[in-house]
């Protein structure tokens, strides 16, 4: 197992380097000058040139890239062009919000998705199956901004259950609505996947054997079928969690949550290159890590899979 993890981590290095290199090149060729943006609409060309020099943007691209990589190895991702905050700090200040949002919404997604998928598969072609799948289709199709707005109007304005948007003073109640809204789509996805995977599994011989042995249906489904059906579901949970952790712009915007999604979009609009590069590097790391964790979880669900 340890060897496998080390091999995977080593394998991830060129992936991350590749991602960072591509983003670095893209940020240097994209039209728009961060120094120009910094001085505002009306600027003195001499001042702009001096700011560009201060930012190091007048150096050859290769020199900038090598310097960036050297600094990145020591976890120095530079400072934001916009407000001089170190990029690592800019990411870390947004991370707790994003982590909470991602974890809460994934918990909601799993709580909704897995049981719906199981019921749907077990009660195939019944009203329960149809209802669950209608929910799943709606959940996947409904745009987040629309669901979010409706949720705010209903729960904040009409019912008054939730005080409002933003973070308040850090109370968890402020995470409830965004987590539900954010959890609906992955929940629907998990429901559909669980259903199809369960349907495939319950037709297997070993399930028939389990039933023939006289096991209770609940044990057959929960212990024998579900565990084996979980591999594709866990893969999706892993990738979706990484997706959520890398920031969810629309939800963060609607609910005024200061997370990583807003940081990256603002950075992009303001040509804040150090922040763009830093967030992309962070996201690449997250996806690589999520994939490794998902792979490592497979033997838990299917003992035939071994990494040693």
């Amino acid at each position: 197992m340890l060897n496998y993890i080390i091999r995977r981590l080593i394998g991830a290095v060129p992936v991350i380097l590749g991602v960072v290199a591509v983003v670095f090149i893209l940020t240097t060729i994209v039209p728009g000058d961060p120094a120009r943006l910094m001085v505002g609409q009306r600027g003195n060309p001499e001042t702009i040139a001096k700011i560009r020099h201060e930012m190091g943007l007048d150096r050859p691209v290769m020199v900038q890239f090598v310097d960036f990589m050297k600094d990145a190895l020591t976890f120095n991702l530079g400072r934001s062009y916009r407000n001089n905050m170190p990029v690592v700090q800019a990411i870390l200040t947004r991370l707790p919000v994003t982590i909470k949002l991602a974890i809460f919404s994934m918990i909601i997604a799993v709580i909704i998705g897995v049981p719906l998928g199981i019921i749907s598969a077990v009660k195939r072609y019944t009203w329960m199956d149809y209802s669950a799948m209608i929910f799943a289709i709606l959940g996947i199709s409904a745009p987040v901004f629309w669901v979010g707005l409706l949720a705010v109007v209903l729960f904040c304005k009409v019912l008054g259950w939730i005080p409002g948007t933003g973070l308040g003073n850090g109370e968890l109640i402020y995470y409830v609505l965004p987590s539900i809204v954010l959890g609906v789509r992955p929940g629907a996805l998990i429901a559909r996947l669980t259903r199809s995977s369960m349907l495939e599994t319950i037709r297997q011989d070993y399930i028939r054997t389990a039933r023939a042995k006289g096991l209770a249906e609940s044990i057959v489904i929960m212990k024998h079928a579900l565990r084996n059906a979980m591999i594709p579901v866990v893969t999706v949970i892993g990738i979706e969690t990484a997706n959520l952790l890398s920031g969810v712009v629309v939800t963060e915007q609607i609910f005024s949550m200061p997370g990583l999604g807003r940081l990256s979009v603002e950075a992009l609009l303001n040509r804040d290159f150090p922040v763009i590069r830093g967030t992309v590097l962070f996201m690449a790391l997250l996806f690589v890590l999520a994939n490794i964790i998902v792979d490592l979880s497979y033997p838990f669900f299917d003992p035939r899979i071994k990494y040693d």
């Binding site: 197992m1 994209v30 039209p31 728009g32 000058d33 961060p34 120009r36 943006l37 910094m38 001085v39 505002g40 009306r42 600027g43 003195n44 060309p45 001499e46 001042t47 001096k50 201060e54 400072r79 916009r82 407000n83 001089n84 905050m85 170190p86 690592v88 700090q89 870390l92 200040t93 947004r94 991370l95 707790p96 982590i99 707005l149 705010v152 109007v153 904040c156 304005k157 005080p163 409002g164 948007t165 933003g166 973070l167 003073n169 915007q253 609607i254 609910f255 005024s256 200061p258 997370g259 807003r262 940081l263 603002e266 609009l269 303001n270 040509r271 964790i293 490592l296 838990f300 003992p303």
Partner: protein
């Protein structure tokens, strides 16, 4: 066995994420860039005004801020020598009065006594300790802002101060034109009489700064520890979430009954980028003021007692590139465009009536504005077609309009595209982001593009000289590349003319040339609104726009 390892791994992951959270807290305390470990006194008080703003400010250091989101906060923390009254006239602030020499080249400011810098910032004592502001502070502040190594984006606004060039070229270690007469008297000498000089000094870039704190935090950190003399002190800034300011108990100003100002215990600016949410939060009573009312809520907002709307010193226009075909040397073509659009219909339908038709550069309320100046570009399709023919395009013309990405700009562009088509002008639309548009405009690469201008200071100089004088072609503001000798003469002369009546006349003549030559497709002058809850008292929308509002006298009477 596998199960155990997996559970262990998950536990490890949680531990890492928790540690990341702790790391963030530690980093915050180490750098001191976010917030103080102590809770600010303003929070939790009922007497704080909560406002929804649309964007996280870029920079709270006035020397480097150029955007309105940052300015809004800066106006509460910092103060300048002079200020604008509700009609845009210059009035005293930290300078109680001033004398101007007969040659109009020397300004002597008599400074207000008893003005102190903030004692605390982000809950920590400041290095200056809350000491009194003297002329030495002003001398140091101007030297700091105008220092070439500081690289302040707006330093060049004061390039008329004596010795500016030598200081910029590092021939001297200080600026010659700024000196202390005594502790409460400051002298500024300028190279030539510059009529809008006092107006420029009211820009928040030129706020007094405490040397000790600026030096302690440096350029990189002062943004997160802004220390000034204003009615409110900085407490904390949670990026993309909120900024909290608390009352400066040591503020110099009292009301007419001798009560200490400000009345509020603090201000809280919450970043809510979604306009529907801003409105919902306002309706819920979670905020006392919102920055922007979106069109769907405009009628409802307008009916509220706390709604104010006035013209803003700002103009929305499309630039013709006068250095490239087809608009180069073709006045008839540019005029044809101006006659081909129905501004009133555009404003009524697309802008919900929230603007004033523009047929020239200067907005209402700015010296030199005169609605009778000719030509007045009324909607006249026949005239537009005739001018198009005269311009050499009897069968119409195709042109691409480039605008920066935004729903409002898109709707306007689409409406104007339809209107221009009726005159035989076939416009294709292209949107790029603001940064790319600025870049292309600076390089004079595109023939027809969107622009807008909000005054830095309420003077015609900031429109006609900055936006159309040939000295400013390119990034300095003249994006059309307009180059007219007579216009240059008039705007150069008006800058140094002290007699207000003569100045007004010069600007009227310059405005007439601009209208006649039509370097822009004039579209509209902005209006600006402010919306507060009914219980917010003394909130008067300032002349320069709602973002320049100071909350010194604002009260909550819930």
């Amino acid at each position: 066995m596998h199960r155990k390892k997996f559970v262990l791994l998950i536990a490890l992951l949680f531990a890492v994420t928790t540690l990341a959270g702790c790391g963030q807290k530690a980093a915050r305390q180490r750098g001191g860039e976010q917030q103080s470990p102590q809770q600010p006194s303003a929070e939790g008080s009922e007497n704080i005004l909560r406002m929804a703003i649309m964007a996280n400010p870029r920079n709270l250091d006035p020397v480097f801020a150029t955007d309105t989101s940052s300015s809004r906060i800066i106006y509460q923390i910092f103060e300048t020598l002079v200020d604008y009254d509700k009609d845009g006239n210059v009035q005293p602030l930290l300078a109680e009065s001033w004398d101007v020499s007969p040659d109009k080249k020397t300004y002597t400011f008599h400074l207000r006594k008893g003005v102190h810098f903030h004692k605390t910032v982000a809950g920590e004592p400041t290095t200056n300790g809350g000491r009194e502001v003297t002329a030495d502070d002003w001398v140091w502040t101007f030297n700091y802002i105008l220092n070439p190594d500081t690289n302040s984006p707006r330093a060049y606004f004061l390039d008329m101060i004596k010795g500016y060039k030598d200081y910029q070229d590092k021939k001297t270690d200080h600026i010659a034109g700024i000196s202390k007469v005594d502790d409460y008297t400051l002298k500024i000498e300028i190279d030539y009489p510059f009529a809008p000089f006092l107006s420029v000094l009211a820009c928040n870039t030129f706020s007094v700064l405490p040397r000790e704190d600026v030096e302690k935090y440096g350029k990189e950190q002062f943004n997160f520890h802004p220390v000034g003399t204003g009615p409110f002190k900085f407490e904390k800034w949670i990026q993309d979430d909120k900024i909290v300011l608390s009352r400066n108990d040591n503020y110099w100003q009292k009301d007419k009954n001798g009560n200490q100002l400000p009345y509020l215990d603090g201000l809280e600016f919450r970043v809510i980028t979604d306009l529907a949410m801003e409105w919902t939060e306002f309706e819920l009573g979670n905020v006392d003021q919102i920055e922007e009312v979106a069109d769907p809520y405009y009628a409802e907002a307008k009916a509220k007692k706390g709604f104010q709307e006035t013209a803003e010193p700002a103009t929305y226009f499309y630039c013709f590139n006068l250095q490239k075909p087809p608009f180069k040397d073709n006045k008839a073509l540019r005029q044809a465009f101006n006659y081909a659009i129905d501004r009133k219909a555009l404003i009524d339908i697309v802008r919900n009536g929230r603007a004033l038709p523009a047929t020239g550069v200067l907005p209402p309320g700015i010296m030199g504005y005169d609605e009778n100046i000719q030509p007045k570009y009324t909607y006249d399709l026949e005239k537009a077609k005739a001018l198009l023919k005269e311009a050499g395009y009897p069968d119409g013309i195709k042109v691409e309009l480039v605008y920066n990405t935004s729903d409002t700009h898109k709707s306007i562009a689409e409406a104007l595209q339809a209107q221009l088509k009726n005159a035989g002008i076939d416009v294709s639309l292209k949107n790029i982001d603001w940064s790319a548009l600025l870049d292309a405009a600076d390089k004079m690469e595109i023939p027809f593009f969107r622009m807008g201008w909000t005054a830095d200071y309420p003077d015609p100089d900031n429109f006609l000289y900055v936006l159309l004088n040939s000295a400013n072609i390119g990034a300095r503001g003249n994006y059309s590349g307009f180059n007219n000798k007579k216009f240059d003469e008039l705007t150069n002369q008006a800058r140094i003319e002290i007699d207000q009546a003569k100045r007004t006349e010069l600007y009227k003549q310059a405005e007439a040339i601009a209208r006649e030559e039509a370097p822009w497709l004039f579209i509209y002058h902005y209006t600006d609104h402010m919306l507060v809850q009914d219980y917010v008292k003394n909130a008067v929308k300032p002349f320069m726009g709602e973002y320049t509002m100071k909350y010194t006298q604002v009260k909550l009477e819930k």
